[in-house]
């Protein structure tokens, strides 16, 4: 079982500093783990089919496919073409958001104040990563993403709130790639709401070979 995965056996082990982007590849069958090193960090994440970049993660297809608003173990992450891209195989946090999207300079002006425009944001991270890596993706390829470790409860009456995190130091989510995927991450720099406990912190990413 994946519990037996030892860090020393990982093909790749990187730490992403608070507020920084990461772009990498995970091959079909490989295991990808995201570790919330210090607790309550939001990890804004998108996936693309490595061989057809027009196929990307779809929040709506994933929600509708699993019949549940929240992501956890057993949920298949579906693409805009309804195809399984990855499956969540382990989750020591318990619930992840895919409604809240990524923060941006522009949404910061709406949500908080016009003076917040200058603050670093996830969508600026995404755009910077796409500009630097030249993988053939641009702004139009940024659909609604996953916020691993983030807690955005919806009430039966349809209210939506950004609640304190339910994650903690060392908790992780682990996924098995069902196709070769590009992974685009922004380790969220948001300072204006409790998604990061007002204190963005580093995360660790590990990739293991197909079992």
């Amino acid at each position: 079982m994946s519990n037996s995965l030892a860090e020393i056996d990982a093909l790749q082990k990187v730490t992403v500093a608070a507020g920084e982007p990461w772009l990498g590849q995970v091959a079909r069958g490989q295991t990808f783990r995201i570790v919330d090193l210090e607790g309550n960090q939001a990890v804004d994440t998108l996936f693309y089919n490595a061989h057809d970049r027009e196929e990307h993660y779809s929040a709506c297809d994933t929600i509708r496919g699993s019949g549940n608003l929240y992501l956890t173990s057993g949920v298949r992450l579906l693409s805009n073409l309804g195809v399984a891209m990855l499956t969540i195989t382990e989750d020591t946090c318990g619930r992840h958001d895919t409604l809240g999207g990524a923060c941006s300079a522009e949404s910061n002006t709406v949500r908080y104040a016009l003076e917040k425009r200058h603050m670093h944001s996830c969508r600026d991270n995404f755009l910077m990563a796409l500009a630097q890596h030249e993988v053939g993706l641009e702004k139009r390829d940024l659909p609604s993403n996953i916020n691993f470790f983030m807690n955005v409860p919806v009430s039966p009456e349809g209210g939506l709130s950004f609640a304190d995190g339910i994650s903690a130091a060392g908790r992780y989510v682990q996924l098995r790639a069902e196709m070769d995927v590009l992974v685009l991450i922004s380790n969220c720099p948001q300072l204006n709401n409790p998604c990061n406990a007002y204190n963005p912190t580093p995360i660790q990413l590990l990739i293991w070979a197909a079992g």
């Binding site: 970049r53 027009e54 196929e55 990307h56 779809s58 929040a59 709506c60 297809d61 929600i63 509708r64 019949g67 549940n68 608003l69 929240y70 805009n80 073409l81 309804g82 619930r95 409604l99 809240g100 999207g101 990524a102 941006s104 300079a105 522009e106 949404s107 910061n108 002006t109 709406v110 949500r111 104040a113 016009l114 969508r123 641009e138 702004k139 139009r140 390829d141 940024l142 659909p143 609604s144 993403n145 955005v152 919806v154 009430s155 039966p156 349809g158 209210g159 939506l160 709130s161 950004f162």
Partner: protein
């Protein structure tokens, strides 16, 4: 229309009747898809001509097609998981594409996505033009892709859409339930456009609609000139976030 029931009486009262003269009127047949440019200041009424209608919709800034409707920004700015009267529909650049000025229905879904070909075929069997001509089954994703192609857009531009007239409820654990009686015959929703918008619509069934027969419903579109949001406006004043969203939008249209 049938006589009012108790459930009907609890619904919000219709208001904001379209101001004549209508600029145009179109009817969408069962399963028909449609796209068009709706300019800032034009209002559009979508009317369900039968109970149980669904209108899947995506919106793009016609002057900057990479700017599009953003479910996430729309929901988090207004702390809601659904759309109704008073809501603004945000783009991914902090601007408001359209606002909902009237709604007899009360709940419009925006997180359940589109039906697709395998879903419709799995539920209702194979259906081709060759045998069924224009009654052949349609699905949401292919319908939207068909329209997007007319503007140089495609798969990569598929983002979280709105499903007007459909309601999907969520319980405390996050489990989804499709509400089959959300839309009555005659229900309508009014969209006031705050920017020049490419509007793409599909009347194919909602992806979670368990209807035993394939039966999408016809919808009427009526456009009139209402002007964009005035200074005192229920959508603008819903929350301070919307005030800033309108400010961001209006900056784009200053001389």
């Amino acid at each position: 229309m049938s006589s009012p029931t108790l459930a009907d009486a609890q619904r919000p009262a219709p208001d904001a009747v379209p101001t004549p003269p209508l600029l145009w009127l179109e009817s969408l047949n069962r399963g028909e898809h449609w796209s068009g440019i709706v300019r800032r200041g034009v209002s559009l009424r979508l009317t369900a001509l039968e109970a149980g209608a669904n209108v899947s919709a995506l919106l793009y800034n016609f002057e900057l097609l990479s700017e599009r409707y953003c479910m996430a920004d729309t929901l988090k700015a207004q702390h809601t998981a659904f759309l109704t009267k008073g809501c603004a529909c945000y783009s991914d650049l902090g601007r408001i594409m359209c606002s909902i000025t009237a709604d007899s229905c009360g709940w419009h879904d925006t997180f359940s996505g589109l039906s697709d070909a395998s879903m419709i075929a799995g539920r209702y069997g194979r259906s081709r033009f060759q045998e069924e001509r224009n009654s052949a089954h349609k699905n949401g994703r292919d319908s939207i892709l068909n329209e997007l192609g007319k503007y140089g857009l495609g798969k990569r531009d598929l983002t979280a859409n709105i499903n007007f007239f459909s309601r999907v409820s969520v319980n405390a654990e996050g489990a989804l339930t499709f509400e089959p009686h959300n839309c009555r015959a005659g229900d309508f929703v009014d969209l006031r456009f705050e920017m020049h918008t490419l509007l793409v619509l599909a009347t194919a069934p909602h992806p979670l609609d368990p209807a035993p027969r394939y039966e999408p419903h016809p919808v009427r579109l009526e456009a009139w000139y209402s002007g964009p949001a005035p200074a005192h406006d229920a959508c603008r004043n819903r929350c301070s976030e919307n005030g800033r969203g309108f400010r961001n939008t209006e900056m784009m249209f200053l001389p």
